[in-house]
Structures are given as C-alpha cells and as structure tokens.
C-alpha cells in the first residue's frame, strides 16, 4: 500500500516536472537565442567581462522595447578556454543542443578560425568583435560570418600611416613570435615601404610566446637607436613590458607605440608614461557620437566602470546583427545572410557598412598620444585622437581576391 502511493507520487511529480520543461521549452522557442563562444578564463578573463557586459546591455535594451520582430533575445555562454578544439565543440553544442539561432565569436583568433568553420558547416551566422586575424576575411572567409573589429592587417597598416608621419627614419619593432605579431608586422612593413621608402627597420625583436621577462630583449631593441618603436604586445604582456622598459629609458629615447586599449591603460595605471603614440580599436572617450555618449552613460550606470573597447565592439556587432534580422524579417540565418552583403548600420562608432566581398565592416583604428586627464584619476587616456579611416588601411577587394586565389 505504502509503495503504491509512493509510486503515484513519483508519477505525479514526473508529470509536473515534464510540463514545466515543456512550458520552459516553449517560452525558449520564442526567444532568439545567441550562442556566445567565449574565452572566459586566463588571459581571456578581462576581455570576457567587458564583452559580456556590452552584449547584455544591448539585450536588456532591446528586450525592454519588446525584442526584435516581437521575439526577445537570450544569451547562452560557453567557455572555449582559448582552445580551438574546445571552441569548435562548444559551437556545435550551442547549435545542436541549445538550438541557438546565431553565434558570437571568442577573443582568441585561433579559436575564431576553428569556430568559423563550424558556423559554415551548420550555416549559422557568427560575428567577430575581438579576435581579429585578417585570415578570417581572406583565406578562411565564409559568407556566414562578419567582423566588426579592425583586423591585424588594418592595425599594422594603420600604425604605419600614423608613424610614417612622424619625424623618424629608423624604426624598431618588438612583438610576440606567433601569427598575431607576424601578421601585424608584415602589414606594417609593407605599408611603411609604400608611404616612406627612406624609412628603415633597424631592429626586429621576436619574443617567444609566454615569455614575461623582457630584460634580455630590451637592450637589443635599443642597440641601434630606433627613433620610433612599434610593438604588437597586448594586454598583460604589454603592460609588464612598459613597466620593465621604463627604467631602461626606452620611452625617453624613442616614440613607443602599441595597442593602448582601456583595459591596458587601466592595468598599467600611472606607470604609463606620457607622450607615447598608441592606438585603440574603440576608445569611448574619443568617439563623439550621440549614440556613444548614451551608451557610455548607460554602461557606467550599470557596471560602475567605463566600457573597454571589447564591450563597444561586441555591442556594435549586436547592432549590425539586429539590423540584419529586422531587414530580413526573420531570425533564419539562411535568410539573414542574404541581407548581410553591404548592410548599413548605425554603430557607436558612427555609420558603418559590411563590405559584400569579405563581410568586413569598414572600421579603422584610433591613434592618439598618452596623457594624464583630471577626469580619470587611476590611469592615463589618449589625447589628440585621430581616426585612421578604413578606406586608407583596409585590404582592397583585389587584394582579398588574390589572397583567396593564392590559397586554392
């Protein structure tokens, strides 16, 4: 008798549970699901925090207005752990088990190159906002992706434009010995040779990946007295390089430049020397659009800190994706992909469009000079910021086609 009633209870309970799941599933089916393949931990942690905050702010705003096409947005996050194979598996899981409609890319370019293949396999749109290997839009291009972050090539060529204009003839380079560093360096050297044939690269120093003690390398970099130095170090590596190079007097002898995004400026704090020429992908304090102002205010109110470049670019990607969904009138990737070519959207950085041939948004970089600012007590920012527009530094369509033909 006792066991019978227990049985009944179990059956009842299971039914209840099932119905809850059914209802939940139904609710979920109405949402547009965004699968974010993120690099959550390790060196990806700082980036992830900002990216997620940017995406979540966008989703909150859109959902408050009733969503897109009457459907709310929902974010699902998976950790790729900076590993391409894990990233690819997570992308599959997000598409197959979580039934995500769209994918959002990671921080690491290596993971991005693996994930973009999965997106093509299942014909789901993915956008890249932080990972920026130029190969994503050239040799490894596939039509179901678009990119709203300046590529390694745009960065290298952009810095050639910025540094060619300075009073310098002898240039030095120091960077990490892997694809990101080499891509930037090659783009930099090629553009510099076009713009300023008399310029000489007097020293190139490659530092093995993972090295944190730069002491053995700094004297070599300085030995031939370059007047300007370009570096592809980034994030924590760049921050510690600056701290280590300062007592060697590098910044007194040469104009030093690198990627001075907000997180780098915050991490280096007041150890950052003034007067360095750096670039950023999206410095919120230097972009004067009403959209940016409103965004910064909302972001600050919610997160109690200013938005780093990664938050802005992730947000810009969401603007483009939402615009494409509205234009296509559906969240079906197969149909949305048709409106991606040449899509115009109003980003925080101003009006942008997605170039049909390589799905690259026409984004440039922002170059400025480090300075103290009364408004930001704990870190420096850049002043006299000039935007180097995409049309000066993007690959031409012919170059893109040549690169793709070269691979086949």
């Amino acid at each position: 008798m006792k066991s019978k009633s227990k049985m009944k209870m179990t059956v009842l309970f299971s039914l209840l549970l099932l119905s809850v799941i059914l209802v939940a599933n139904q609710a979920a089916a109405e949402n547009i699901k965004l699968g974010f393949i993120a690099d959550v931990s390790g060196i990806g942690a700082t980036f992830f925090k900002s990216q997620k905050a940017g995406i979540e702010l966008f989703i909150e705003e859109v959902n408050a207005k009733g969503g897109i096409l009457g459907r709310k947005l929902e974010l699902v996050v998976r950790d790729a752990q900076l590993k391409p194979d894990i990233g690819a598996n997570m992308a599959r899981e997000l598409i197959l088990s979580e039934k995500c409609d769209f994918l959002i890319g990671p921080t690491s370019s290596a993971v991005a190159l693996a994930v973009t293949k999965v997106a093509l396999e299942y014909k789901k749109i993915i956008y890249f906002h932080t990972s920026n290997a130029e190969a994503l839009t050239t040799t490894d291009f596939q039509p179901y992706m678009f990119q709203v972050v300046p590529t390694t090539g745009i960065e290298g060529r952009g810095m050639a434009v910025a540094l060619a204009g300075r009073q310098a003839k002898n240039y030095g380079y120091i960077g990490p010995d892997y694809a990101y560093g080499h891509d930037q360096y090659n783009a930099f050297v090629k553009k510099m040779a076009q713009l300023k044939p008399e310029a000489k690269i007097v020293e190139t120093v490659w530092v093995k990946l993972g090295e944190t003690n730069y002491s053995p390398f700094i004297p070599t970099l300085m030995a031939k007295n370059p007047e300007a130095v370009y570096s592809s170090f980034w994030g924590g590596g760049l921050s510690t390089f600056i701290k280590q190079a300062k007592p060697y007097g590098l910044f007194k002898k040469a104009t030093f430049s690198g990627l001075f995004d907000l997180d780098l400026l915050r991490a280096t704090g007041n150890d950052m020397p003034e007067g360095l020429v750096g670039y950023a992908r999206c410095p919120f304090y230097a972009v004067d659009t009403p959209e940016m102002k409103a965004f910064v205010q909302k972001y600050y109110d919610k997160n109690k800190e200013y938005p780093a470049d990664w938050a802005i670019m992730a947000y810009d990607g969401m603007i483009a994706l939402a615009e494409a969904i509205k234009k296509a009138g559906t969240a079906d990737s197969e149909k949305v992909v048709k409106v991606l070519d040449g899509l115009k959207f109003k980003s925080l950085r101003g009006d942008l469009f997605i170039r049909p041939e390589d799905h690259m948004a026409n984004v440039g970089i922002y170059v400025g000079v480090t300075t103290k600012d009364a408004k930001y007590k704990d870190h420096l920012i850049m002043k006299d910021v000039v935007a180097i527009p995409a049309d000066k530094v993007m690959l031409s369509v012919d170059e893109v086609k040549a690169l793709r033909a070269g691979k086949k």
Binding site: T212, N213, Y214, S215
Partner: protein, 294 residues
C-alpha cells in the same frame, strides 16, 4: 656596437644570470647531497613567486620594508614546504632507481602546478618593485634598471654565503661529507637523514628567494616554473651536477649568452643554452666542475 653598450649588455646579462644562479644552485645542491634531480624545484620557485604576490597585496605599498618582509618570509615558507616534502616523500626514494625518483618529482610538478592554478588562478600577477629600486642607474649615459643591478649584486652575496656555509661551518662540513662519504658519515654517528633534510630545505629556500626576486622583475604566471626548471637543468648540466661553482659558471654563460646573442641571432638566441648543454654533454658529460660518476 660601442664600448658603452658592451658594458651595458654585460651588466644586463649578469643580472639575468644571477637570478638563474640563485634558483639553479638550489637544484644543484640538492642533487649533490640527495642524488635526486628534483624537477619540482621549478614549481617550488613558482609557489614562492605567487606567495610573494599574495603577501605583497596584503601589505600593499612600494616601501622597501615590505619588500624586505617578502625576502624574509617567503623563502623560509618554501623551506618548510620542502621539509614536509622531504620527510613525506623524497626520503622514501633515495635508495631506489632513478626512474622512480624521476616519476616522483614529475608527479610533484603536476600536482604543485595544479595547486597553484587552483589557489591563485591563471591570471598573470606581479609584485611592485620597492620605490628605491624602481628607477634606473646611469651607466655611461645609458639607463639600467636599479632592480636588475640589485639582482646582479644579490647573486655574489648568495654565492659567497653558500661558500661560507659549506666551507667554514660545521653544518657545511657535514653536507660536504654527506656528498662524498655518506656511509662513513653515518658510521661516525652523524644523523645523515637530518643532513639530507636540511640540505633539501636550503635548496627550497633558494627556490623561494628566486621566486620573490622574479615576481618583482616581471609578470609571473603558470608557465614560469616549467620554464625555469628547464633553464636550471641546462645550467647544472653545463656546470656539473652538485657543484655550486659550476652552477655559477653555467648561469653566467647562459645569462650573458642569451643577452648577447639576441643582437646578431635574434630569436635563434633561444636555442643557445641547449646547444651549449648538448656540447658539454658530448665533450664532458659530467660538466665543467662535476665529477664522473663512480
């Protein structure tokens, strides 16, 4: 390259070599007495570095006293950890074959490295340099970081200290006797186990010291232990396993070599320590100051 730059590069290279010496001498000392190559030495060095980070974030501020505190507290803490490891694990494998010793120390590398990951996470950390060491020293009009010069002077101090300890004290006599005639020493009524434990602790103390010095030199992360143990191993192979003088020579060859070879050879300078190691193994397998195995 002019003469000023030569001096500049030499000092820079010496400071790199001295840091390496402090760590490698511990590895060599332990091998000399215990006849075990402790691959976990690099992990102990890494724990020292992260411990220094934790303590420095508690006592925040760039005063020299905070830094001295780190130098006084962290190395003994690593020595105590060494005490536990020696009593609990190493003691059991001294008479075993080399393969078993290798397995034990390698297992320890994996365990300790993961422990660091669990306790401190994967983010790169560092310790602020004390204010008086944060600036630079002028040498022939070229600036050199005061901190690197400080490390350069720490090396000889440690080397002299070790020499004094080994050659001028009773404890040193016992350690040296334990290297050559452990059985005789035991027969004379000396507690050899105790000599071994204290030598192991001294080795760990040196690893901890290296960790503190590194944490204020550059960023520390999960990879530094493995990187340093490989370099240290090259050092002791070149200098001779078990020889402190050999460790000093090996460290200076590698420190100066890596700095000087950067200029002509660029990234190929990376292979320099290992080329030297290979040459030494061919020409004199027991190293410059080592003795052939009996």
């Amino acid at each position: 390259m002019n003469l000023e730059y030569l001096v500049f590069m030499t000092i820079n290279g010496l400071s790199q070599g001295m840091l390496l010496f402090i760590i490698a001498s511990g590895l060599s000392l332990v091998f000399g007495v215990l006849r075990v190559i402790n691959f976990a030495h690099g992990s102990l060095y890494m724990i020292g570095a992260f411990l220094a980070f934790s303590i420095s974030s508690l006592v925040s501020g760039g005063s020299i006293f905070n830094f001295l505190l780190l130098l006084l507290v962290v190395p003994p803490a690593i020595a105590i950890l060494g005490f536990v490891l020696e009593i609990g694990l190493f003691r059991r494998v001294y008479r075993q074959e080399h393969l078993l010793q290798l397995l034990l120390t390698y297992a320890l590398v994996l365990i300790l490295d993961d422990l660091v990951r669990v306790v401190w996470g994967g983010n790169p950390r560092n310790v602020p340099r004390p204010e008086i060491l944060a600036g630079s020293v002028d040498i022939f009009g070229l600036a050199l970081p005061t901190y690197n010069v400080f490390i350069m002077f720490m090396g000889p101090v440690i080397a002299l200290g070790l020499w004094w300890l080994l050659h001028r004290t009773r404890a040193g006599n016992l350690i040296r006797a334990a290297v050559t005639f452990p059985d005789t020493l035991g027969a004379l009524g000396v507690n050899v186990s105790w000599v071994m434990t204290s030598t192991f602790m001294l080795g760990c103390w040196l690893a901890g010291l290296g960790g503190v010095l590194m944490a204020a030199l550059a960023n520390i992360d999960l990879g530094i232990g493995m990187e340093k143990i490989i370099e240290s191993f090259a050092v002791v192979v070149i200098g001779g396993l078990g020889s402190i003088g050999g460790a000093l020579l090996g460290s200076l060859i590698i420190g100066l070599g890596v700095t000087f070879f950067q200029l002509p050879f660029g990234r190929w300078a990376l292979v320099f320590p290992y080329v030297i190691m290979a040459l030494v193994l061919i020409w004199r397998p027991w190293g410059f100051f080592g003795k052939p195995e009996r």
